[in-house]
């Protein structure tokens, strides 16, 4: 997935001279996860460069550049570090079009590795997507595989508005179903690991059905897509697993059609439960599908604690927790 993300930036930097890439360690070194490796050598250091360690500076400068007419695609080294830049995202990038009546706009992508499962403790594991979906004017994207990552990132860079692009870091090197002890599967062994050369895009705001099923609709994104697939296989629940891909704008149509068919719904995310994006999904499903529901909607999520270090796998909502919720929902 790292190569797919790099490829998306490479393709767009090639196609559009206004695309610039910067952040901490992204220039000469190519980023701590190597997502920008080679871009500086190829496009020069005024189009791909290192910045001071200052997230409000990175996003704030990018807002100014976007207002000028560039298309910055910046990296925040970990989603856990985005908070100093949050004011620039929320008060500035998200509202510039609206408050200036499109006199100035902000075509900006803020990329950030998100999620846990890498022994990162509380400062390298968070999933703060709900802090962005709550903000008017932002789009929030979470890819779950290399094909989507490239196509969605290209769409994000081309989008005329600011896009938060959250990369589940546990998926960088292969699909991960929540079993840390199992041998890692590389993307080369996965059908969605195949990434076409050159330009293509995956539209923002469209979900994908990863497994068709009749008994239960599962809403998931990022790493949790694979956890949900594993849980369905283990429990034998005939789940329809929807990979949301874009959280905002949300593909409510696909969700609604599926829940009307199955009559049951479970939501899985890695972020903490309370006021998480699952709460919004739960409310929307209730509002749109209440008379089709045969059981209460279940949420499986991270516990409402900071992300722990030693207890990572007790915190991480893996297939066991997801599977229990699936069974409870279909048996209710």
């Amino acid at each position: 997935m790292v190569e797919a993300i790099r490829d998306a930036m490479d393709v767009m930097m090639e196609r559009d001279e206004n695309v610039v890439v910067f952040g901490e360690d992204v220039g000469y070194f190519g980023g701590v996860f190597r997502c920008t490796q080679g871009l500086q050598a190829k496009f020069g250091k005024t189009r791909c460069f290192d910045t001071p360690i200052n997230e409000s500076g990175i996003v704030g400068a990018a807002v100014g550049m976007a207002a000028y007419g560039l298309r910055p695609c910046v990296e925040i080294q970990f989603a856990d570090y985005v908070y100093p830049g949050y004011d620039q995202i929320v008060s500035e990038a998200a509202r510039l079009r609206y408050r200036s009546n499109a006199d100035f706009t902000c075509p900006l992508v803020v990329r950030m590795p998100t999620g846990g499962g890498i022994s990162g403790g509380q400062t390298h594991s968070q999933s703060p997507e709900a802090l962005f979906t709550h903000v008017s004017g932002l789009k929030t994207v979470v890819p779950s595989n290399p094909y989507d990552a490239k196509g969605l990132l290209i769409a994000a860079i081309e989008d005329p508005d600011p896009v938060i692009f959250m990369e589940p870091k546990r998926l960088y090197n292969g699909p991960f179903d929540g079993y840390p002890g199992k041998p890692a599967v590389p993307w080369s062994k996965h059908e969605l690991g195949e990434v076409p050369d050159g330009y293509y895009s995956v539209p923002l705001g469209k979900a994908a059905i990863r497994r068709e099923g009749a008994a239960l609709t599962v809403l998931a994104y990022g790493t949790m897509v694979y956890v949900a697939l594993a849980a369905a296989a283990e429990t034998g629940v005939d789940a329809e697993i929807i990979d949301l891909r874009t959280l905002l704008p949300l593909d409510l149509e696909t969700i609604e059609a599926s829940v009307r068919k199955t009559g049951r719904c479970a939501i899985v995310h890695e972020a903490t439960l309370t006021s998480g994006f699952g709460a919004e999904l739960c409310a929307l499903v209730q509002e749109t599908c209440f008379y089709h529901l045969e059981a209460p909607i279940k949420r499986v999520a991270g516990w409402d604690t900071p992300y722990p270090h030693a207890q990572e796998w007790d915190y991480f909502p893996g297939p066991a927790r997801a599977g229990r919720a699936f069974l409870e929902t279909v048996e209710a």
Partner: protein, 410 residues
């Protein structure tokens, strides 16, 4: 047990409070004309002294003196005077309009008119300001229509911002005026980013960032300085030190540092302090900084030493926290009177012509106001459409907003 006395926290206080006699004896004012004018490519280290002095051109007799004088002809000075007078008249009418309930909020410039009016004249078409809410002189001096400003203030049917933004948070790309946020200091680093973009594209345009003394304490101020310093961005970073951040005196943001300008020195950014009530000095110093930016010599930090004569905004009463007569004691005088006296001294102006100009300007402002009010005020007459509330959040309205707009009945 350690052998130390208990620690005590230091909380700075202004020298005087309401009821006290105003005292500016701590503001050291050098003689006009006494501060050197280095070449624009001077080594920042060699001009550190400029961050601790005050560059002044107009002396007490109304003469323009010293190495920073002589840049502006009578025509330009008269235009500057007219712009400052227009801003002052505009402010007076809009403060009154707010009291009459025609709008919710207003911010005036009394005492600070020279800063934005003179700075505006140093830029070239295409250069971009990233202003705060107290630089409307940039728009007026750039010839932006007064009526459009008022329509924004009234949030009426002709408001260029469709009623979405708080009064006075103008936006005009055409006039080199970036959309005002209302959040503090955020625009400072954006100005640096805009300037970096211009340099990335090998363009010739430059940016100017604006901030107040209080907001220099924000992290974004420091982000701006480090980015500007690192990438040698073609940007002029302006600090308007008007002594007060609402009720908080400048010593709270400045801390132990000698001056706000001195903040630039650690970043090796040339830093200058200038008499912000001296139109000629503001112009000369800003021109010097703008020239540096255009010649790709990098950023400049300028501190304009001035005084906020009026309230912070229409929601503020300064009598609660500073002596009522403090503005009379401000040692740098009034920018309009000083420029007027200079022009009279030169024989280019007179009391009679000044009175006549005042009347003409008032007529112009009143005519603009009448026109603006014919399109409505905040609670009466033509209003922006409620439909507009839902437009423009994104380039293309996403489904959830479309549903909400329908739900709202539009």
């Amino acid at each position: 047990m350690a052998d130390y006395a208990p620690l005590k926290l230091h909380v700075p206080e202004p020298a005087v409070r309401p009821g006290d006699i105003p005292d500016f004896s701590n503001v050291k004012i050098p003689h006009a004309g006494s501060v050197e004018r280095p070449p624009v490519d001077a080594d920042p280290v060699s001009i550190r002294g400029l961050a601790f002095s005050i560059i002044r051109v107009l002396n007490r007799e109304g003469e323009a003196v010293g190495p920073w004088a002589g840049l502006l002809g009578d025509g330009e000075l008269l235009e500057g005077l007219r712009n400052m007078m227009t801003l002052r008249a505009f402010d007076a009418r809009m403060v009154m309009a707010q009291r009459q309930g025609k709008t919710s909020f207003y911010v005036q410039h009394m005492g600070e008119e020279a800063v934005s009016c003179a700075f505006s004249k140093t830029l070239l078409p295409g250069d971009m300001n990233f202003p705060t809410y107290r630089q409307a002189g940039l728009l007026i001096a750039a010839g932006y229509p007064l009526t459009d400003m008022m329509c924004q203030i009234y949030s009426n049917e002709r408001d260029p911002l469709k009623g979405r933004q708080l009064p006075i948070m103008y936006s005009s790309r055409k006039s080199g005026f970036f959309s005002i946020s209302g959040n503090l200091a955020t625009q400072y680093i954006q100005a640096v980013g805009w300037a970096m973009a211009s340099a990335i594209k090998n363009d010739t345009r430059i940016a100017a960032g604006w901030i107040g003394d209080g907001s220099t304490a924000e992290s974004d101020f420091h982000a701006a300085l480090v980015f500007a310093s690192t990438y040698k961005a073609p940007v002029v970073l302006n600090i308007v030190n008007n002594q007060w951040a609402i009720s908080t005196f400048q010593g709270i943001a400045r801390g132990g540092s000698g001056t706000f300008a001195a903040r630039g020195l650690g970043f090796s950014i040339p830093a200058l302090r200038v008499d912000g009530n001296d139109y000629l000095a503001v112009y000369a110093v800003a021109k010097w900084a703008v020239e540096r930016a255009h010649r790709n010599l990098g950023p400049t930090l300028i501190e304009y030493v001035t005084y906020r004569v009026g309230a912070h905004s229409t929601a503020d009463d300064p009598a609660a926290y500073r002596p009522k007569t403090e503005s009379d004691a401000w040692p740098l005088g009034d920018p309009v009177i000083r420029l007027k006296n200079h022009l009279i001294k030169k024989g280019a102006w007179s009391e009679a012509r000044h009175a006549q100009a005042e009347a003409e300007i008032l007529d112009t402002v009143l005519a603009a106001q009448k026109e603006a009010e014919s399109h409505g005020t905040l609670h009466a007459g033509g209003q922006p459409s409620v439909r507009d509330m839902f437009e423009g959040v994104y380039a293309v309205m996403p489904p959830h907003l479309r549903r909400q707009r329908q739900q709202a009945g539009y």
